[in-house]
Structure formats: structure tokens, C-alpha cells
């Protein structure tokens, strides 16, 4: 019945909306901001790799970004309501793919995260993020009450926990954690009794030590403990953070110049084109460069949130806010890690870090935001 209504509604609207859904209605400021961030990313990838075996990956990154714009445009074509309608199928597909990844996925860096061939592989968990956004949006939109009831909480929590768990056992703690802010923001916006909030915090407080001892892999523990005691073992996990801090600090106000940062160029900085790209950027462009990049991210986020505010309905609002929360979480954890204020969890900086899955997933999300924006004029 729900589906039928959706289809009917769509049929009704298409003739009226046609004139509005033009390219002109895209969120151009957002696209310009995204372009600027991608450009800085490509520049930094070039600088970090021009002297290494992987020289030329900046060109690959440009191809990924162009592909990103394509998928962004595609993501605007299908009405987000239709997508919401397909959530059960998308969700089932996600869980199945995650299970398949765990079973037969590609192994690299001691973890199975990718599916595909050696030359072309995708990180499934990145795309599952989108499904989680849609799932949470649809669930809280369908609520009949003004506040979440306990059974809703448990149901929604369970639905998110399943893919989270599957990603965690890959193991990929960082990406698994990125599903949480979507859930948290969804619940927060939908309304939560303070008693439940307290209860959740209490349970989480109890779960963390248990998870630490029984669930987390040793290297994940290392990353977390490395965060708390950096100087204990400079060559271990803390080494990455120390090198990152040295890189950032030595950039000072104006930076050392493109291809001039010794930490980046000397490859003291680990994965300078991926997780630690902001560190490399900070070394070569200084605090001024950091302000520019963080400023771009802030404006981009503001654009997303603005689209949430102008969304035609709650579903659109939830989608935009879910995406904003994932985005904010990525920036917080990645940039925080770079300056040693967050644990090393290995999640990339959206739009800047080298990597196809990340770029495509982020552009898909931006596409969803545009999707909502294009349908805001409900007459």
C-alpha cells in the first residue's frame, strides 16, 4: 500500500516538476565547493606521490572525481522517495554483499574490505553508508509518534547494528563507526526521551570496556591505545601520529611549499595520499592552507544542512541530515587523527583522500542531497 501511494504520488508530480528539475536547480555552490576540495586533494596527491612508485595516481583520482560527478547526476534522477521505497531491497542487498565480502572478498592490510578484481575493486562498506542513511531516514519518517519508543529504538538499533557488525569483522572499525552518527542524528531529530538517552549512554559506557576486551582486534586496540599514549612506542602505532604531528607542526603558518615537505616527500608520513592527506597538506600549505580546506568543508556542510532545512518533507530532511552527520564525522575523525586528537581509525577524508570507493560514495551522497533539493518546490 505504501509503495503504491509513492508511485501514484510520483506519477502525479512529474509533469509539474519537470520545469524545475533543470541543471539550474542543482546546488551549484555545493558543487563548486566539492570541486575545490577535490582539486586541492588532487594537488596534494600529486605532491605526495610524484616521487614514488605510484606517481600518476593523481590522474586516476581525476577520473574518479569525474565519475563521481556522473554518479551524482544519476543519483538525482530517481526521486528519493522511490529510493526510500526500495530500502528493504537495498538493505537486504547490502547485508548480502557484506557477507559475501567477508567470505570471498579481497584481503589487503590484514582485512577483507574490497570486492572485485585486483584492478577494479570497491569497498562495499562505503556504499552501505548510503543505505544506512536511507534506512534511518525512512524508519524515523514512518514513525507515528513524536518521540521514539523503546521498541523503535531497539528495532532501528538492530537494523544498523547488523551491517555494522559485518563491517567490524572485516575488520574495519573506522568505517563501521561511521554508521553510528547517522543513527544518532536520526534518533536525535526524531525525538528521544531523555531517559532513553541516559540509558543508551549507560549501556554504551558498559559496552566499551567489554568491546575493548572481546570484540576489538589487537591492531584496533593498538590504534586506540596509541592515541592515549603516543610516546610509549614511537615506532609502533603511535609512530604514525607522531609523524603526522611533526608534518603538521613543521608546516607552520605558510607551509613548506608544494613538493617541499620533508615529512611527506621523505615518506616519513604514512599513507600521505590517503588517510593522512590532510597532514601532508598541512605540512606543505601551513595553517593558512588548513583554514582554507577546513573552511571549504564547513561551507560544504552548511550547504548540506541548508538543503535539510529547505527539504520538502521530513524524509528529505532526514536524508540530508544523515549525510551531513556522516560527513562531519569523517572530517572530525580524520582531521582529529591528523593532529593527534583522535585515534587512528583509518577512515579517509571525504573528497580529498585518494581512493575510488570513497570518492564515488561521497558524490552519491551529494547526489542524494541534490535529489532532495531538486524536489523542494512542492508548489
Amino acid at each position: 500500500m505504501f509503495l503504491r501511494q509513492l508511485i501514484q504520488q510520483r506519477r502525479r508530480r512529474i509533469p509539474n516538476m519537470a520545469s524545475y528539475r533543470s541543471l539550474r536547480d542543482f546546488d551549484w555552490p555545493m558543487i563548486v565547493l566539492a570541486c575545490a576540495i577535490c582539486a586541492l586533494g588532487v594537488l596534494q596527491i600529486f605532491s605526495a606521490t610524484h616521487d614514488t612508485d605510484s606517481t600518476g595516481v593523481w590522474w586516476k583520482q581525476i577520473v574518479w572525481v569525474l565519475g563521481g560527478f556522473l554518479v551524482m547526476w544519476i543519483a538525482t534522477l530517481i526521486d528519493y522517495h522511490t529510493l526510500l521505497g526500495q530500502v528493504p531491497i537495498l538493505y537486504s542487498l547490502s547485508v548480502a554483499t557484506l557477507i559475501a565480502t567477508d567470505a570471498v572478498g579481497m584481503t589487503a592490510f590484514h582485512s577483507k574490505r574490497w570486492i572485485g578484481t585486483q584492478s577494479l575493486h570497491l569497498q562495499v562498506s562505503e556504499f552501505v553508508k548510503l543505505v544506512i542513511v536511507l534506512l534511518v531516514a525512512r524508519y524515523v519518517t514512518e514513525l507515528k509518534t513524536e518521540q521514539l519508543e523503546l521498541n523503535d529504538l531497539l528495532k532501528l538499533g538492530g537494523l544498523v547494528a547488523l551491517p555494522m557488525g559485518l563491517v567490524m569483522i572485516q575488520p574495519d572499525l573506522g568505517t563501521a563507526l561511521t554508521y553510528l552518527p547517522v543513527l544518532a542524528v536520526g534518533i536525535f531529530l526524531a525525538g528521544l526521551r531523555w531517559q532513553y538517552a541516559v540509558a543508551i549512554l549507560l549501556v554504551a559506557g558498559l559496552m566499551i570496556p567489554i568491546a575493548y576486551h572481546f570484540v576489538l582486534k589487537d591492531y584496533q586496540k593498538e590504534r586506540l591505545t596509541g592515541f592515549t599514549d603516543l610516546n610509549q612506542d614511537p615506532k609502533g602505532m603511535g609512530y604514525q601520529v607522531i609523524q603526522s604531528k611533526i608534518a603538521v607542526g613543521s608546516g607552520a603558518l605558510w607551509g613548506r611549499g608544494v613538493t617541499k615537505g620533508t615529512q611527506t616527500q621523505g615518506r616519513f608520513l604514512p599513507v600521505a595520499s590517503k588517510d593522512f592527506i590532510l597532514s601532508a597538506f598541512a605540512e606543505e600549505h601551513g595553517f593558512v592552507g588548513v583554514i582554507v580546506v577546513l573552511g571549504l568543508y564547513f561551507l560544504l556542510l552548511m550547504e548540506i544542512v541548508q538543503n535539510a532545512q529547505t527539504a520538502p518533507d521530513r524524509a528529505g530532511m532526514y536524508i540530508c541530515m544523515g549525510i551531513a552527520s556522516v560527513f562531519l564525522f569523517h572530517v572530525l575523525v580524520n582531521a582529529g587523527m591528523v593532529v593527534g586528537r583522535m585515534p587512528v581509525t583509518g577512515i579517509p577524508l571525504p573528497l580529498m583522500s585518494y581512493g575510488g570507493s570513497n570518492i564515488l560514495a561521497v558524490f552519491l551522497m551529494l547526489g542524494l542531497v541534490n535529489n532532495v533539493r531538486l524536489r523542494r518546490f512542492v508548489n
Partner: protein, 645 residues
């Protein structure tokens, strides 16, 4: 109209999916925006902390990360002889160093195994560096003279995954002459030791520095030792060089090589002196008395300084230290023995200068004499003896009387004037003083007064008197040129060379003593073996007892404590150019030391002939100069004098 109805329917619809009352969450979205601001401020402060508040700390650490200093070891200066021939050279070799920046202690065992090093001493060595707090960039030398096989091992293991601390550095190593030629003169270099670092002389050096430890290498270390430089390169985290650093303040420093040092040593003469000593224990010193230049200085047994060129193996070191013949001792400046009869010219000079004796003074030698109730032997019965015969025949009784007339303090006065009893000041470390006994000396050292009887044995160079070979050569050389004593030295180019000591002696007295020494060699005296036809060689033998012959008679010690043989000679008599002193330990009789001196003198004059400088032809003018009755040197008659002249 229809649209409106539809919207109305929707608004009323219970389907919340289509509800557009998004305003309900505007407060919460605002909260999210504040959260965003907080997050970005949090991140910005993170960057602010690192990049604005103390970027210097991180810039410094980035520099430590990426800038590596590669030491450039300065080669030491060469040591040349007086003709510019190389005595001590350098040769290229590869040394293995451990870079302390990337050193891992657990790598030491496989490294030690791979290079056949002793693991424990390797660890001890590394710890020593850590304890000393040597600068981090200073690498630790662990093996010199790498063989091709060892080089191959290092090259195949120095990659970042295996042993990144391994570093091969091209060094200039010391190359000393073979067979210990001039070993004691040039000394040797070695790594500064822990104990030395604690002493003020070496405090300015660093752990691992290779410095002069003995001889010229030590005395003129500051000239010979260059200043090590460094090359600063930017490296990546794998230790590969990326580029040479040019734009920082302590950039490349070229190594400044040490300066070459020219010695006064004549290699030809040195070789002859070493050969003349052969396997004997002893020393030879040849000096130009007119300026103090040391022409040759040999000491045997010698050692091979090449053993020390890097770090000496403890086995070799122990062998050198435990050797009863003390090969490390530079006998030319460190052997202190009673001068025996070589002291008699000094006695004669003191007697004449003080007026204790004159030309008319003579004694009868019945083979001994009694002084202060004690009978003193002479080695022969000489009958009537005056000064000239006393020196030529080395009559003890004559000099007992001279000593008795002089008294100890006047003897000491002239002995000191000639340079005995204190260092000659030769530019070598650890020269010994020798002893000239005197009243004061006895009080100072034994808290006892001097007994007049003790002077008798001092008069023939026995008793407490001891001299070193260089003192003997210098003293007789100064006397030979009329009483001017130049400080013996091995390096002429030295602004700190003290002025010569003037004796203000009566030239007539000097001539008489010299004429006596002429007789020793040319008038059938004890030194005939030093005679060189055509050159007026003067000299004096000496046979110094280590213990009284009477005590030793019939004991086994007699073999071990054989008398030391001395000979000191100079030539030509009329204008002395060279004075040579030889010590032949356990040589029993001075006449056995005489040929050593003759060889050196002959080599000296032969070389002059070779170089086209005519051999001095003074023989015909000798009588005029000496103003004594014409003397025809009798044929050599070595059997004329029995033991102990």
C-alpha cells in the same frame, strides 16, 4: 484548485512520509550547526597548537627525521723525513660504522655473527657510546679494513628492512713503515680511550676520535690531525638519499686534511741505525749538535705501529705489554742507565773548568785506590796517568781522584750544565729525566745527608747516576762544539724551540777533553772500533754495571744483569756535524757499542760524498788545532784493553 485539494489531502493524510512540516526539527538542526562550529573550532585549535604555537619543535623534529649527517673523516697529515721522503703515509680503506640514529640493539647479534665480531665487546662498545652521550649523528666504528666478503655482507644487509644502521665509510688509514722502522719516533695513532678522555690532555676529543697516542703522532697531533667534516643530506624514511642539503645553516662541512709534518730524521741514517742495532736491545740517537736536529733515533726491540692503526686487538696489545723486552719503550729517551765511563768527559771538563785539576795533575794507577777506607778497583794497571791518558785509557783511578777533588755538587753543576739530570726537551712525549746525584738530590729523595765517599763511584758514572741515550748524545754534542747545547728536536719548524744553553767554557779546556776523546778512537784507546779512516772521529766508551761485579760473580744473575755497553762519538773533531750515542743493553763492554756508532757516522759521511759534498779532510790539521804533540793514530788494537774501561 485541484492541486490545492491534493495538498490538503496530503496534509491531512496520516502518511507521515509525505509530511513537510520540517519546521519541527529546526531547533535541532540549529543545534547540529552549533555542533559543527564546535567540531571545526576543535579541529582548528588542534592545528593552531601544532602550527602556530610551537612549530619550531616540529620543524626541528622534521629536520632530525630527514637530515642525515654523513661524516667525512679528515685524513691525517703525512710524516716526512728531512728530504721530504714519506715515513708515514695513509691508505684508503673501508670501515664499517653503526649509525646510532637507526641502531637497534637486537640487530647486534646477527651483525656480530655475520662479520665474525665478538658480540659482547660489540655491545659493550655501543653502550660506551651511549653512556658518553656522544652526538647522535656520530656513528660507531665497529670494524676496519673490510674485506671484499665483509663488504658484500654489509651491502646486502644494509637495506631498511634488515640492518639500516650499517654504514660503510671510506677512511684514510695510517700506513707505517714495515719492521718497526722509526716506530718509536713516529709513535702510533689509536682511538681515544675512556681513561684518556678523562684526562685534561685529551678532554677536547670525542669518543671514537682517532688521535696520536705516542711519539710524533701524539706530540704534533694538532698539526697532523685534520678536522672532520660532514655531508648533510636529506633522506627519506628508508634511508635513501634524496638530495644534498644546501639551504640550512650547518650544511656541508668539508673535511680539512691534517698538515704534513717534516721531521729532521734522515731516513737513510735511520735505516742504518736500526740495522746497526739489529737484534740487540738498545738505542741509537744521532743529533746535529750545531742545531739540535735529531737525524736518527732508533730503539730496539721495536713494534709494528700498523697494529695500532685502527683499534689494536687485545691479543696484540697484551703481547706487547707482557713482553719482558718492553718493545713499546722508546729506549732513546726512556732508558735510564748509569753512563759508566761515558761520564768521564764530563768529569774532566768539570775538573778543568773548576781548577780542581790542571795540565800537571797526574796520578799513579796501581790497579786500584783506597778512598774513605774503601778500596776501589780500576780495570787495569795504568801506571802514571795524566788527563789525556786518563780519558784514552779510561783510567778509573784518575777519575776517582778528580771526583774526590771536585766533590759531588760541583760534579752535579757541570753534569746539569751539559744536560744530565733533566729532560733534554726533545719534542717527544714521556721523556725521562735521568739522575744526577747531589747533596740536595739525596736530601730530597732519601732525607739523608750526602757521604763524601759516595762521590767516588759517581766519578766513573756509576752510583746513582743515570742518563738516557739522547741526554748523552746531546751533552757530548754540545761539548763538542765548544759548550753550546741546542735542544734536540725532531721538528725544526717550531716557534717554541728554546734558545741554546751557553756554557761559557774555556775553549782550551774543551779542546783538551775533545782531544782525549780523539785518543779514545784514534790512539789505541777503548773506542778504536769506531775509527773511520780519513775522518777524525772522537768518542768515549762506557760499560755500566747494573750491579757490582763482585756480587754477581758466580751467580746466574750475572748472565741477566750483564753490563750495558755505551758509546758516544762525534765527527769530525774540527767542526762536529753529527754526534751519535748508542746504548747496547747487556752488551758487556763499550767497545761493542762503538761499531754501531761508527756505522751511523760512516753512513752520514758516505751520504755527503754521494750527494757531491766532499768528505771533510781535516786529518792533517788536527795537531795544529789541538796544539798538542803530533799524534799518529796507532793501528787498531782492540785487544789492548781488558774488561771495564
Amino acid at each position: 484548485m485541484t492541486l490545492h485539494t491534493e495538498r490538503e489531502e496530503e496534509r491531512l493524510s496520516s502518511n507521515r512520509l509525505l509530511r513537510d512540516d520540517t519546521k519541527f526539527a529546526s531547533g535541532k538542526i540549529a543545534f547540529f550547526q552549533y555542533l559543527m562550529v564546535a567540531v571545526f573550532l576543535f579541529l582548528l585549535t588542534g592545528f593552531w597548537d601544532l602550527q602556530i604555537r610551537n612549530p619550531e619543535v616540529y620543524q626541528e623534529r622534521a629536520l632530525q627525521n630527514s637530515i642525515k649527517s654523513i661524516p667525512l673523516l679528515a685524513p691525517r697529515g703525512k710524516i716526512l723525513d728531512r728530504d721530504g721522503r714519506v715515513i708515514v703515509d695513509n691508505h684508503s680503506s673501508f670501515s664499517l660504522f653503526l649509525s646510532r640514529e637507526s641502531l637497534k640493539m637486537e640487530h647486534l647479534r646477527p651483525i656480530a655473527d655475520g662479520l665474525n665480531l665478538d658480540y659482547d665487546s660489540l655491545v659493550a662498545r655501543v653502550r660506551k657510546f651511549q653512556k658518553r652521550g656522544a652526538p647522535q649523528y656520530q656513528p660507531i666504528a665497529i670494524k676496519e679494513e673490510l674485506t671484499p666478503a665483509e663488504l658484500a655482507f654489509v651491502e646486502s644487509h644494509k637495506d631498511p628492512e634488515t640492518f639500516p644502521e650499517l654504514e660503510v665509510i671510506h677512511v684514510q688509514r695510517r700506513l707505517y713503515p714495515k719492521d718497526g722502522l722509526a716506530a718509536h719516533v713516529v709513535g702510533y695513532v689509536g682511538e681515544v680511550s675512556e681513561a684518556e678522555l678523562n684526562s685534561p690532555e685529551f678532554a677536547r676529543f670525542h669518543q671514537g676520535d682517532v688521535i696520536g697516542k705516542e711519539g710524533i703522532e701524539r706530540q704534533y697531533n694538532d698539526i697532523l690531525m685534520g678536522v672532520d667534516g660532514q655531508r648533510r643530506v636529506e633522506v627519506d624514511s628508508f634511508g635513501n638519499e634524496r638530495r644534498v642539503v644546501v639551504d640550512d645553516e650547518d650544511k656541508d662541512k668539508e673535511a680539512i686534511p691534517g698538515k704534513n709534518l717534516q721531521l729532521t730524521i734522515d731516513l737513510d741514517l735511520q735505516a742504518v741505525a736500526e740495522l746497526a742495532l739489529e737484534n740487540r736491545k738498545g738505542a741509537v740517537v744521532a743529533i746535529n749538535p750545531r742545531n739540535g736536529e735529531v737525524l736518527a733515533m732508533a730503539s730496539r726491540p721495536a713494534f709494528d705501529p700498523n697494529l695500532f692503526a685502527g683499534r689494536i686487538r687485545s691479543r696484540d696489545w697484551k703481547f706487547l705489554l707482557d713482553n719482558p723486552d718492553h718493545p713499546l719503550l722508546n729506549r732513546a729517551i726512556q732508558a735510564q742507565f748509569a753512563p759508566g765511563s761515558t761520564f768521564k768527559p764530563t768529569m774532566a771538563l768539570a775538573g778543568l773548568e773548576t781548577g780542581a785539576i790542571d795540565d800537571n795533575f797526574h796520578v799513579v794507577c796501581p790497579g786500584g785506590a783506597t778512598f774513605y777506607g774503601h778500596y776501589y778497583h780500576c780495570h787495569a794497571t795504568h801506571g802514571g796517568v795524566e788527563l789525556h791518558k786518563g780519558i784514552v785509557q779510561s783510567c778509573d783511578v784518575f777519575f776517582y781522584n778528580v771526583g774526590n777533588r771536585l766533590g759531588i755538587d760541583r760534579i752535579a753543576q757541570y753534569a746539569n750544565l751539559m744536560g744530565y739530570g733533566h729532560k733534554t726537551g726533545v719534542d717527544l712525549p714521556q721523556e725521562k729525566d735521568g739522575i744526577v746525584p747531589s747533596t740536595q738530590w739525596k736530601i730530597r729523595n732519601f732525607r739523608e745527608k750526602w757521604y763524601a765517599g759516595e762521590v767516588i763511584s759517581v766519578a766513573i758514572g756509576q752510583g746513582a747516576t743515570t742518563v738516557t741515550p739522547i741526554q748523552l748524545a746531546s751533552a757530548i754534542g754540545g761539548l763538542a762544539i765548544g759548550g753550546t747545547w741546542y735542544t734536540p728536536h725532531l721538528v725544526s719548524d717550531n716557534p717554541h724551540l728554546p734558545p741554546p744553553r751557553q756554557g761559557n767554557l774555556n775553549p782550551e779546556n774543551v779542546k783538551k777533553v775533545i782531544y782525549g776523546m780523539y785518543g779514545v778512537v784514534n790512539e789505541g784507546g777503548t773506542g778504536v772500533r769506531a775509527r773511520i779512516p780519513g775522518i777524525n772521529v772522537c768518542g768515549k766508551t762506557g760499560s755500566a754495571q747494573l750491579a757490582s761485579n763482585a756480587v754477581l760473580k758466580g751467580t746466574k744473575l750475572g748472565q741477566i744483569l750483564k753490563d750495558n755497553a755505551w758509546f758516544v762519538g762525534f765527527a769530525p773533531m774540527e767542526a762536529p756535524e753529527i754526534v751519535v750515542a748508542a746504548l747496547f743493553e747487556g752488551g758487556v763492554h763499550g767497545q761493542f757499542a762503538a761499531p754501531i756508532v761508527r756505522d751511523v757516522l760512516k753512513a752520514y759521511f758516505d751520504k755527503k760524498v754521494r750527494l757531491g759534498q766532499p768528505r771533510p779532510q781535516f786529518a792533517s790539521v788536527v795537531p795544529k788545532l789541538i796544539q798538542a804533540p803530533t799524534v799518529v793514530p796507532p793501528a787498531a788494537n782492540p785487544a789492548a784493553t781488558p774488561a771495564n774501561p
